[in-house]
């Protein structure tokens, strides 16, 4: 069923809602496309006319400056017209349903919605109810998925580490609440990594997490032993209130990434973080700014990956051009 919603009748990617359901080949195709967009950012005119005349609406029900900005830059580099809508909680409390908001915007001839929402399944709901010429990119729905983040993380890993099959990878942090972690897990398993571990206290590990294809570890030293990639997750400070962890100090002691803990990983391991970082909580500044950190490049790759997703979704088939001369 997932395949049915993200793909059109001809098997082309129509929406990007979740990485679950994407084949290894589809993921690699997106990464390859992103490669060609990297060079656009290095030119003086950082624009190509691929999406000229198309309208992209960033519909953010949950505010996020950085993700919204990268989507905006990506769309503008493709020459699309971009509209940013921050639908605050107060607007929806005036009674307009999610679907009504979408319908009103559709009436203004939007081609692509980039949607971020606090509830899992919001992007799916929207995708079920838009006409065929409208496309949806999920920029994060509740705890469920953040597929473009997962893809840009895969792009980063491929750039620094090459083939996925040999890699041992650890994801550290609040897995329970993390849509980024779920997307990363689906992608890494689809790409066939050698070993995938998640590291967190029991309170932050979801039930039956092994079913997602990971090995849970509650001991960080053991979890990081010999890994090639350390993927850190952001810890929201509110977790203290929900009786999930006692204090920031204790969390940092047990699960914060310090140089000492990083030393358990492979010597050339890379450190990733989706941002924004809580320095001193989940990650030590020495590591964040250290030689193994690829956190800043992740941001650049994020633009290219989002350009690739938009181009693939909005275009026709991915077959080589015929009779173009």
């Amino acid at each position: 069923m997932k395949r049915g919603l993200q793909f059109d009748d001809a098997g082309r990617l129509r929406h990007l809602l979740t990485i679950e359901g994407l084949s290894r080949q589809s993921i690699l195709e997106i990464l390859d496309t992103a490669e060609s967009f990297i060079s656009v950012g290095e030119r003086e005119i950082k624009k190509i006319p691929l999406l000229r005349g198309k309208t992209v609406v960033n519909l953010f029900f949950e505010s996020s400056t950085r993700t919204r900005t990268t989507f905006e830059i990506a769309a503008k580099r493709l020459s699309a017209d971009v509209i940013n809508l921050n639908v605050s909680a107060s607007s929806t409390s005036k009674g307009e349903t999610l679907l009504d908001t979408i319908r009103n915007l559709e009436a203004m001839h939007t081609d692509l919605f980039v949607v971020r929402h606090a509830e899992s399944g919001a992007a799916h709901l929207i995708a079920h109810h838009v006409p065929t010429h409208v496309h949806i990119i999920n920029a994060g729905d509740g705890r469920h998925a953040h597929p473009t983040q997962g893809l840009l993380d895969m792009f980063t890993i491929r750039r620094y580490k090459g083939a996925f099959e040999k890699l041992k990878i650890a994801i550290v942090g609040d897995i329970l609440h993390s849509r980024v972690a779920r997307s990363q897990i689906h992608a890494l398993n689809a790409l066939g990594v050698k070993e995938l571990r998640v590291i967190a206290p029991k309170t932050l590990l979801p039930t039956a997490v092994e079913n997602l294809g990971v090995r849970p570890c509650t001991d960080m030293g053991e979890g990081l032993d010999g890994v090639d990639v350390v993927m850190m997750l952001r810890l929201q400070r509110e977790r203290m209130q929900g009786a999930l962890i006692p204090s920031e100090q204790e969390y940092f002691n047990l699960y914060g990434l310090t140089p000492v803990k990083l030393a358990r990983a492979a010597k050339d391991a890379i450190v990733m973080h989706p941002g924004p970082m809580n320095r001193g909580l989940e990650i030590d500044s020495a590591v964040a700014d250290g030689s193994q950190s690829v956190i800043l490049p992740q941001v650049t790759y994020g633009i290219a990956v989002r350009m690739a997703v938009m181009a693939l979704i909005m275009g026709g088939s991915a077959e080589p051009a015929k009779g173009r001369r």
Binding site: T33, V40, E44, I45, P49, G316, E319, A321, G323, R324
Partner: protein, 165 residues
């Protein structure tokens, strides 16, 4: 049905037509894929000193919405700044002219050249845009269902094929 084309002879004719332009120190740019193969030969035969530029026009096509992305996009690479330079743009087959239109748009996103001359190995009529070459290897006439393809890159060979629909 036209006889098979003599590629070497066609290349030689292009070289001859480009000779007068050499005094302006032109930069050569080939359009992927066939145009790059032809440009590599021309670049070598004309003994151009500055490196060859290559262009992938996928991002500038006018039929993107219909045909979509080809993930195997090669990146464009212009090693020398085109600003205020005389350029020779090279493609293997000139037909409707749309590829050249896309290439010109892309070049102008990199900078403002002093002039652009077009060299093509084969010119086959059927223009849909007002674009004409300055150097041609051979003019051929083809039926609507015929298509000419350059094979390479080791040994360049032109093949005429029937296309359906």
């Amino acid at each position: 049905m036209t006889a098979a084309v003599d590629v070497e002879a066609a290349l030689a004719r292009v070289v001859e037509q480009l000779q007068p332009m050499l005094k302006r120190q032109p930069l050569m740019i080939g359009i992927h894929t066939g145009g790059v193969w032809v440009a590599e030969r021309l670049h070598q035969d004309l003994e151009l000193k500055e490196p060859l530029g290559t262009l992938d026009i996928s991002f500038y096509r006018d039929d993107f919405t219909r045909i979509g992305m080809n993930p195997q996009v090669r990146t464009s690479h212009l090693p020398v700044n085109v600003e205020d330079r005389h350029l020779i743009l090279v493609d293997d087959v000139l037909h409707t002219g749309r590829t050249i239109r896309a290439a010109l748009n892309e070049i102008f996103d990199y900078g403002r050249p002093a002039s652009v001359a077009l060299a093509c190995l084969i010119e086959r009529g059927g223009r849909e845009l007002p674009i004409e070459p300055q150097a041609v290897g051979e003019h051929i006439k083809l039926g609507k269902n015929q298509h000419v393809k350059l094979l390479g890159p080791e040994k360049l060979e032109l093949r005429i094929q029937e296309v359906n629909g």
